[in-house]
Symmetry: C2
Subunit: 178 residues, 2 copies
DNA sequence: GTTGATACGACAGCATACTGTCAATATGGC
DNA sequence: GCCATATTGACAGTATGCTGTCGTATCAAC
């Protein structure tokens, strides 16, 4: 289940050569954003591999874990989960279906909506989440301490700004809520 | 071609509720890292959509653009590109094959290696890259100015540290280079 | 109530990326 | 030169996520 990625050239974790020499006349801020985009792509791959490893202890994957975690506190409709995770409705539906097959979650009637059934954790699903959560805590605490909580918070804040700006400047691609 | 994502609840771009109340006893740094992971996943989706939109002007996709850009300066073997992009060799091979079919790139003999042919841009491929690059510059400069170059650089630096720490602490998952 | 817009689930198809496996080719130690 | 190891391309299969489309349900405006 472990992802078989190869480590990239250490030098390549720095600013991409193409962006560094700024061959296309971008502004410094444009260069910085481009470098950030590059590293977010790489980090996404590395973090997916890490999450797969953590979730693997409970025979789950990164994607299944995300859906399980989304319904940990309260049952939710598939469309609701997809908005929360910034995924297409159909992607979450597929994962929800396999979670139901594996008896980790189940669909229950929604008193407020005839068709939008609520996805709810089963005891097995809750046990799986507990197992993953313990491993995740150790992993996050260790890596977090290594980088530093304050720096991580600042970085996350900037990423949040980028995300907000993206959804505002491209309202066509990212539909309005409700 | 436009990705049909729905904008998430604005509140959900903040720290995930699960992490915020720290129900599992993580340290503050562990919480900060967990929040960063959440936002990197979301940002990856939003940036893939943005890149697809930029590359769409040349009838390309985010994935094809990445491979084209990787061979912009010099032809490279598929395995070389995959290391650079932190992707599996096979994923890049598939994209390279379709790029060849579309006459945007071509395989040429490698004087240093009998089997590892080099992927090289064709004039069409170079023209496609030029078209994408112009749009990307505008996009990156605009969004970069909105956030601020210094903040973006600092955030990218922290993400680089996380990436480096991940490849060091999990050498099994991310194989050593050469 | 009726109606138009929206939300939702369902189905089909495609794009992207991963894993596993194999044979052929390099590569480095001896 | 020989051999163990790593690299590379190729093939098959799977997981994740997106698009398009449909019919039905919900909801708000009237």
């Amino acid at each position: 289940m472990e992802r078989q990625r190869r480590a990239a050239d250490p030098r390549s974790t720095r600013v991409d050569a193409r962006a560094a020499r700024n061959g296309r006349g971008r502004t410094p801020a444009g260069d910085a954003l481009s470098a950030l985009v590059t590293i977010v792509f790489r980090l996404h791959g590395a973090l997916t591999a890490a999450n797969d490893r953590l979730a693997g202890r409970a025979h789950q994957t990164s994607a299944r874990w995300q859906v399980l975690a989304a319904i940990e506190d309260s049952p939710k409709a598939v469309a609701h989960i997809s908005r929360r995770l910034w995924l297409a409705r159909q992607s979450v539906q597929r994962v929800a279906d396999v979670l139901e097959q594996d008896a980790l979650a189940e669909f229950t009637d929604n008193p407020d909506h005839l068709r939008a059934r609520l996805l709810r954790l089963t005891p097995d699903g809750r046990a799986a989440l507990r197992g993953i959560g313990a491993a995740q805590r150790t992993w996050a605490d260790g890596l977090g301490a290594r980088i530093g909580g304050v720096k991580l918070e600042r970085a996350a804040h900037v990423l949040g700004e980028v995300l907000r700006a993206l959804s505002e400047t491209h309202p066509g691609a990212l539909r309005k809520r409700r």
